[in-house]
């Protein structure tokens, strides 16, 4: 598979703190690539840089071979990047359907397409409910529907399981399984059950640096990862 999104030697500092430390990653078309690491490792900061919300100090980001540095967030979305947020960012005064319609209007599409994305995210039964009345898990699903409505080629998922109960997590895993192959996904997640259920490849980020990349099996058996993040299983 060819690389769709390439992060090339990205570095970002906040004052004296290096939050992204020479990160290089290849994300292939159609694959699910999980990015794991302890809190504060710089996972969300990496998403912010890819989306253009934060400029890297050095390094480059390529989508399908085109450098993104000079592009606004809106231009990046039009090229096929989309993201979800750890804390759902939704439009509380609108219905769930109107939230998806906003994403459709943003790319010049018709509102008629909204239902198909609500169905994909299993939230169609709540389509006409005002979003401020939706539960946390439903907002997470709605966020996914909104992201899908932008027709992404590369979907950046920032902790989609955060705050979900076991049943909701199962449902989210099942929804994401249903999207497999349609788009590439970068899955930032702490829920290891979800990571190992979904990921084709995993990279581990610790203190802003990638310490390991590989298949789920390779990562599980990597002693550096076990030491830094997954644990040894010994007390």
């Amino acid at each position: 598979m060819s690389a769709l999104l390439v992060l090339d030697d990205l570095t970002k500092n906040f004052g004296g703190l290096r939050v992204t430390d020479h990160v290089s990653l290849d994300l292939r078309a159609g694959e699910v690539h999980a990015l794991i690491g302890p809190n504060g490792a710089g996972k969300t900061t990496l998403i912010l840089q890819v989306m253009g919300e934060l400029a890297p100090d050095s390094g480059a980001i390529f989508l399908d071979g085109a450098e993104l540095r000079s592009l606004s967030q809106a231009a990046r979305v039009k090229r096929g990047l989309a993201r979800t947020f750890q804390v759902p960012q939704v439009l509380g005064e609108y219905s769930a359907r109107e939230n998806v319609i906003a994403a459709l209007y943003a790319r010049g599409a018709s509102a008629d397409e909204a239902d198909q994305y609500l169905v994909r995210a299993a939230i169609s039964a709540r389509a006409d409910v005002r979003v401020s009345d939706l539960a946390h898990g439903e907002r997470k699903q709605l966020e996914l529907a909104i992201a899908l409505a932008t027709r992404p080629r590369m979907l950046l998922l920032d902790e989609p399981m955060a705050g979900l109960g076991p049943a909701e997590s199962e449902q989210m895993i099942s929804i994401l399984q249903g999207l497999r192959g349609e788009m590439a996904m970068l899955l930032v997640e702490h829920d290891m059950k979800a990571v190992f259920a979904l990921a084709d490849r995993i990279s581990v980020l610790v203190y802003g640096a990638i310490i390991a990349s590989g298949t789920p099996q390779e990562i599980q058996n990597d002693p550096r990862v076990r030491e830094a993040y997954l644990g040894t299983g010994e007390d």
Partner: protein
């Protein structure tokens, strides 16, 4: 049906108002209501930025005043026969002057908006206020057009063969402009642009994440809003046949904000209701006591607390 009942009754009352005012022997009420409608239009223009886009501008009096001065300057040159800057002749035609007023206000809003919209929150409020005060002092120093004395012109602009000297005729002309403007507002609110603008007001980060160029959308809203304020200024200049820098004093911007909040920002008809309530209260209290502002202030606070969401949302309605 109920949704349309009150607006229909309100419109019927306005249509009959010049006759009612004559019957009760208070023709001055025609001019008072014309003023209310014009300020309602100005507040409604601010509402595009404030209520639809979440942009708290404390500088809309600048666009209102620029619209008024466009009329004053154009009319003065039309009467004197001297071209403006030796290049363009003035006009005494209302439609021409209104278009010029909206265009000039729109350009001013485009320039100020392009700079002010790079900030948000309290900075945005302060920078719009600063620009408006700059323009206020600019016109205060503009001796060629009256300086702080303002600019008086003899007659209202002409519209077809209507007798524009007649206050009742001008009342209906103003009503026509108000209704046309409210139709524009309704069109904006219910368009794709309106949905996206409402989204920006609720959560700008979300809208950026779906690929909306939020700066551009807010800028367009700010320009439309400025043009509406310019239209209101043009009508106010015609009402009194007088323009002065006072029109663009920051207190005028404050009054427009109060009208929006009082009537219900984000609704179509709310700012107009707010203008009628505020100017009506001012006019009534003014006849009772010279210390009317001491009563008006607490009364406004009580009204805002009692009618959360504004007069237009009483009973859960959102016209």
């Amino acid at each position: 049906m109920r949704k349309f009942l009150l607006p229909t009754l309100g419109l019927a009352l306005l249509l009959a108002w010049p006759f009612i005012a004559e019957i009760i022997g208070s023709p001055a009420l025609i001019t008072l209501f014309t003023r209310m409608m014009i300020l309602g239009l100005a507040a409604s223009a601010l509402n595009i930025a404030l209520g639809f886009g979440g942009l708290v501008s404390l500088g809309h009096a600048a666009f209102y005043g620029i619209g008024a001065y466009a009329i004053g300057i154009s009319t003065t040159h039309a009467i004197s026969g001297e071209p403006f800057l030796g290049l363009v002749s003035g006009s005494n035609l209302l439609f021409v002057n209104v278009l010029v007023a909206m265009l000039v206000s729109g350009v001013a809003a485009a320039i100020i908006g392009a700079l002010a919209l790079r900030t948000s929150g309290i900075q945005f409020i302060m920078i719009t206020l600063a620009f408006a005060q700059m323009i206020f002092f600019l016109f205060l120093a503009l001796k060629a057009y009256g300086g702080d004395d303002g600019l008086t012109f003899r007659r209202r602009n002409a519209l077809f063969d209507l007798n524009m000297r007649d206050d009742a005729t001008f009342f209906y002309v103003t009503l026509g402009f108000l209704l046309a403007w409210l139709a524009v507002c309704a069109r904006v609110l219910h368009s794709r642009f309106g949905l996206l603008l409402g989204g920006i007001r609720q959560n700008e980060r979300r809208m950026q994440a779906i690929g909306v160029d939020t700066f551009r959308m807010k800028w367009i809203a700010f320009i439309i809003s400025g043009m509406g304020a310019g239209l209101a200024g043009a009508l106010m200049a015609n009402l009194g046949r007088f323009v002065s820098p006072d029109l663009m004093h920051w207190t005028t911007s404050g009054e427009l904000l109060i009208m929006c909040v009082l009537g219900g920002s984000g609704t179509i008809i709310g700012p107009v209701l707010g203008a009628f309530a505020l100017i009506g209260l001012e006019a009534t209290l003014n006849t009772w006591t010279e210390h009317w502002q001491a009563i008006l202030g607490p009364l406004l606070v009580l009204m805002v607390l009692a009618f959360r969401g504004g007069l237009a949302r009483i009973g859960g309605r959102k016209p």
